[in-house]
């Protein structure tokens, strides 16, 4: 069975590109357009991995991670941050909240996102 990846991203084009790329790699892709929706989908679907944006409407990436930490069945789902920014303060905060990896969109190509996903959960 294909592994489930939840994409939480508010920007339509990025969502589109990543969804396409991940589907090509035979992952099952779920999408949410803000943090709030992300948490709801997560509880219902229990994905194998979450790709999480930081700056989003309603609920940002950090808040999503904080809430995941309080919910036992979500606590251990690996998270990779995909953000536009990557200041040391932010990286540190994400690491403390348990993020496995961090990607700055302008510095990575979509293929490298796939590589990071594979590294976490395999094909």
């Amino acid at each position: 069975m294909a592994k489930k990846i939840l994409l939480i991203e508010d920007e339509e084009i990025m969502l589109n590109l990543l969804q396409r790329k991940l589907t090509q790699e035979n992952y099952e892709v779920l999408i949410a357009r803000d943090g709030q929706e992300g948490l709801e989908v997560m509880e219902k679907e229990l994905p194998d991995l979450v790709l999480l944006d930081i700056i989003m409407p309603k609920k940002g990436g950090f808040e999503v991670m904080e809430e995941m930490g309080k919910i036992p069945k979500l606590k251990n789902i690996p998270v990779i941050i995909v953000s536009n920014s990557g200041q040391p303060v932010e990286l540190d905060r994400a690491r403390k909240l348990g993020a496995k990896d961090w990607l700055i969109k302008t510095e990575f190509d979509p293929q490298e996102v796939i590589d990071k996903v594979v590294k976490q959960i395999g094909k």
């Binding site: 920007e11 084009i13 990025m14 990543l18 040391p88 303060v89 969109k105 190509d109 979509p110």
Partner: protein, 413 residues
Amino acid sequence: MNSGKRKNNKKERVTPKEFSEKKLNFTKITEGKKERTEEEELKQARNALLNILEDTEEARKIAVEERNKTLTIIQNFADGILVFDEKNNLELINPLAEEFLGVKKEEIIQKNISELSETPKFKHLIKLLDSFPEGKAIKSIFREELPLRENLFLEITTLPLIMESNLKGTLTILHNVTREKNIEKMKTEFVSISAHQLRTPLSAVKWTIRMILDGDVGEISNEQRDLLQKTYLSNERMINLINDLLNVTRIEEGKLLYEPKLAQLEDIVWSVAGNFKQEIKRKKIDFKFKKPSQALPKVKVDQEKIKLAVENLIDNAIRYTFPKGKVEISFRCPDKVIEFKVKDSGVGIPKDKQERIFTKFFRGPNVIRMETEGTGLGLYTTKNIIEAHKGKIWFESEEGKGTTFYFALPTEE
């Protein structure tokens, strides 16, 4: 009024010189006419003397008036003014300085600088005055910014008062730069926000083109590939430019030093230099990294930022050196500092442009001809980083011969 009065008096006035001359004439005249009396002579003398006294009084009045005028100017000056005498006692303070520092003149006047440094309101200022390069004896003009309290930023200028080559004390001027500071902050925030906003669409463009190039959305012709590859590179350039802008604003926001940790500078430099291997090979540059024979004392640094500073310096050295030129990196460890040096045989910095080399957005005319790309932010950022680490940066350069950049960081004792 005064000058009018002086004019009216002129006819009767006899200066001491005129007086003696007149007296001579008078004697000559009287040689023949003995009827001139002594009484008249005395009268003349008395008038002359009175005139002299009147002159002196007037001169005194003018002096007092001048003094009052000067004092009024100082009292009403748009900058805060403090004067310390040669023994470092506070001789004068104007109302604006009282207001800035939140002190009352009566409580502090004539007190010594050492006594004043104990009062909480003066503490910050005195600490600053004390940090002058030459110690307490201030010999040259000194300028520093002092954030005194919420919404009050002062630029402190101190200069020696020298009269006939004797030091008569020091003059301290407190200039309010709060408005400028606020504008600067707004500008920084503006750049920061726009840079973040700009990155979002740029990453979308980057990923889209990449996926088309990778054939993820179907096959493309060679011609299409060629065009898209160029577009991808243009987009990368834009990303780099935005990143540079972001780095600058982050530094200006004071977000710069993030958890400084002890590190070996030579290791950091070595790892940064590694990133340039390909470029060094491509340009056939004779690159030397003189590793110190023994480990240097550690320095406390924000690794990410120091890497950025070193990267900028090495990048410049390689970029502005012609193929087959030389670039050499070395270290020195004089008293309590570690000195980094990168020497190149590149195009150099024109003498008349050297003063502006660390200015934001400045690029030398000779390097613009050589490399059109570049934001002029590298050295500005580097200087900010080094100074945030309480270090110093400087250079030597000759156009056409090469440039050597140095920076020194304090070691951890």
